[in-house]
């Protein structure tokens, strides 16, 4: 502090600063600064220290600034974020590849690093002729760190772009999703877009399982980390099914058709096809409303196939049994409506006869015997009144009357007035066949034990066996003779619904369904074929009802798919196919069917 008191600026002993003395004080300061007197040293030291402090402060400040500034990012870094991520392979139940990733090169640019944008545009469009020059020029004019020039270029184009040697233009490997089987199984697989994000079907389901979250969090999963997904589909069976369906749709000039095979014991969908379909390698085709998955997205009145549900309900309640008689003399009148039978017998029918003659009157009477509430409760329990949710994101809400009257119950009993997704009807019929376990269909491979764990017992095992007996009987002597393939012990049910055109049921626009189970004694596979407006042909006698078209196709499918699915044909009919029924005193169920009625 001693030396400070000698500082002339602050020295109290210094003369007061009058305006006249100011220049003198300034000169004094300068002299102090540059004089070499040893007494001036401390103040110089201080000035110098201040200078250095400021300098280093500046450097530090800049460093901190640079540290905190967001990373401008190199092109490669930005590109790694933008490229389409890896997806797990999708395999069928036997390990055949259904969807896989292959590497393709994409061209990107970093506009900030481009020296001559016009030249770059010119050269790039010369190599990549399908890139719009004007649009590319505009994209390059932005101040972004990263823009795509063209994605998924050919190897030849890749080499040409590389040889251009443009600074700020780079190549990066991307994943491209390929579907080697084309349209086979397309409706189940769905597809992924150019960024490899799942848009539909199982592809979207996979994203929902956490893959998308992983990507957004920046963990670009490598193909090695991703376990392939095994679907329940069998690609060979699916092809055979689609091929037979395609033949049928063409032969009967139907507007559309769909078919599916389900394992009744696991709820797995083994094969599914809906025509017309699309190639998932060309995703734009999938948007055509004609190409929807009719099994899962369309809702239809299933016609007589639904009678199986009504009969199962009546049998399960114990109110009727296989020997009960139902009055089918003449049409059933309700108010101003009259319910007729297509194969009218005009007499009392037993329950098996109601099924094999596909009697509307008989089933309507059974449903009436239960009442509206019980009917609704049963259908709800069978999952027919709410939206069925599988792994596929696409689904449809069933359509049913808001004010459910007795008349509705009567018509719904034979499959008119309630529209459900065909796969949903399969779920219910599957439960009628497999011993009474209702299991939501799945597209992912699963074991019987897993399926049983989530399944709910909806009907008694005896009822299920009675239903199998009826299905088998119907294939032997009833309306489903088309599917009685020797050796497979098939059971089946036809369904023909008149389509509603302009609010009225149309007599000549039909929607036909066919449900078959094989083998009927030890149920394994459930087959469903639906056809939209098939035409009557000379060889069918002009008839366009289900047995002639959907039934025929189902028969062809069973014959062709049986060996693929390892369904062993048996040439001696099973000795006692329905043991529970025999115990209940229906010995006739195990005897060969007699009589030759029905169509």
């Amino acid at each position: 502090m001693m030396h400070e008191s000698r500082d002339p600026l602050h020295d109290p002993a210094a003369p007061a600063t009058t305006p006249a003395q100011k220049p003198a004080a300034w000169q004094g300061l300068m002299r102090d600064m540059f004089s070499t007197g040893i007494d001036k040293s401390p103040s110089r030291m201080r000035i110098a220290a201040l200078g250095f402090f400021a300098l280093y402060g500046l450097v530090c400040g800049k460093l901190i600034y640079l540290g905190f500034r967001p990373d401008p990012g190199t092109g490669q870094h930005a590109a790694a974020k933008a490229v389409s991520a890896s997806r797990p392979d999708i395999l069928d139940r036997n390990g055949e590849v259904l969807a896989s990733d292959v590497k393709v090169m994409s061209v990107f640019a970093e506009p900030r690093k481009l020296i001559d944008k016009d030249e770059a545009t010119e050269l790039l469009t010369a190599v990549l002729p399908d890139v719009n020059a004007l649009e590319l020029r505009n994209r390059l004019a932005t101040k972004k760190g990263f823009v795509w020039v063209k994605r998924e270029v050919t190897p030849h184009q890749r080499d040409e772009v590389f040889h251009l040697g443009l600074p700020g233009v780079g190549l990066i490997a991307e994943n491209k999703r390929v579907y080697p089987n084309g349209p086979i199984g397309a409706h189940v697989l769905g597809f992924a877009n150019i960024d490899n994000a799942g848009i539909a079907g199982i592809e979207k389901y996979i994203d929902g399982q956490g893959l998308a979250d992983l990507h957004t969090m920046g963990f670009a999963a490598t193909p090695e980390d991703l376990k392939p997904i095994n679907l329940s589909l069998d690609i060979r069976a699916t092809h055979a099914l689609r091929d037979e369906l395609n033949k049928g749709v063409e032969h009967f000039k139907a507007k559309a058709g769909a078919a599916a095979i389900m394992d009744v014991n696991t709820g797995e969908v083994i094969a599914l096809a809906s025509l017309p379909d699309y190639d998932p390698n060309k995703p734009t085709d999938a948007l055509d409303p004609l190409h929807i998955n009719r099994m899962n997205v369309g809702v239809y009145e299933m016609g007589s196939t639904f009678k199986a549900l009504t009969i199962a309900m009546a049998l399960d309640s114990g109110k009727i049994n296989l020997n009960s008689q139902l009055d089918a003399r003449g049409a059933l009148s309700f108010g101003r409506f009259k319910i007729h039978d297509y194969h009218a017998q005009n007499r009392a029918l037993t329950v098996p006869e109601v099924f094999t003659y596909s009697s509307n009157i008989g089933t309507a009477r059974m449903a009436m015997g239960q009442g509206v509430e019980k009917h609704k409760t049963f259908l709800r329990k069978m999952g027919q009144l709410s939206r069925m949710r599988t792994e596929l994101p696409e689904s449809a809400e069933p359509l049913y009357p808001k004010n459910w009257s007795e008349l509705n119950t009567m018509t719904i009993a034979f499959g008119h007035g309630l529209a459900v997704a065909p796969l949903q009807a399969m779920m219910a019929v599957g439960a009628l066949m497999n011993g009474g376990y209702l299991m939501t269909p799945t597209f992912i491979k699963r074991s019987e034990a897993d399926a049983r764990r989530s399944a709910e017992q909806v009907i008694k095992p005896e009822t299920s066996e009675a239903m199998r007996y009826l299905m088998r009987l119907n294939a032997e002597i009833g309306t489903a003779k088309k599917v009685d393939i020797d050796g497979y012990f098939v059971g089946g049910k036809t369904g023909t619904a008149e389509k509603v055109i302009g609010g009225r049921y149309s007599k000549n626009r039909l929607f036909t369904t066919f449900m078959a189970v094989a083998p009927a004694d030890q149920p394994k596979y459930l087959f469903l074929t639906i056809m939209d407006e098939p035409q009557g042909l000379p060889e069918t006698g002009g008839y366009a009802t289900a047995a002639y078209n959907s039934g025929h196709v189902t028969g062809e499918i069973i014959q062709r798919v049986g060996p693929i699915l390892g369904l062993a044909p048996r040439f001696d009919p099973p000795h006692q196919p329905f043991p529970l029924l025999a115990k209940l005193g229906y010995g006739m169920a195990n005897a060969p069917a007699t009589g030759g009625h029905g169509h």
Partner: protein, 148 residues
């Protein structure tokens, strides 16, 4: 003494320096190798993925069916009656050895001992009847007998 110690120390120093240098460069080399191999593995994996996709594309059922229709017109798809159980297959009729039959006709027959079953193997009973333990030996001897 002190000089020797100094020299030793210098030599030790140089050796350790050279050793450290080699280690360092070897490590760098190995790192490079690892990086290269990793790139190669990645390329191979990508190639495998492409080949698998291509295999699936080439063996898709639709194409195979087309090719079968084109090149194997005489083959129809499998019909259910073509499938039979193992038990329903009749036993194959015991057919004689054609050459042995001719030899027999010429009066050069080797008799029962050389009879073979349809698979061409020597029946178990043959060596016993020939009283020879080795079937190979027995055939060799029968052949010898046939020679003259």
């Amino acid at each position: 003494m002190l000089r020797l110690f100094n020299i030793l120390a210098v030599v030790l120093l140089i050796t350790s320096a050279v050793y450290a240098y080699t280690i360092k460069y070897q490590t760098a080399y190995r790192y490079e190798q690892i990086a290269k191999t990793k790139i190669e593995i990645k390329a191979e994996r990508d190639a495998i993925a492409v080949l698998r996709a291509e295999w699936a594309y080439m063996t898709r059922p639709e194409r195979l069916q087309q090719l079968a229709d084109q090149y194997l017109p005489e083959l129809a798809s499998l019909q259910v009656p073509q499938i039979v159980t193992v038990t329903s297959i009749p036993e194959r009729a015991a057919h004689g050895d054609a050459i042995a039959g001719k030899l027999d006709a010429m009066g050069l027959g080797a008799g029962e001992s050389s009879a073979t079953d349809i698979t061409g193997s020597i029946p178990k009973t043959a060596p016993k009847s020939a009283a020879k333990p080795d079937p190979a030996l027995s055939t060799a001897s029968t052949r010898k007998r046939q020679k003259p």
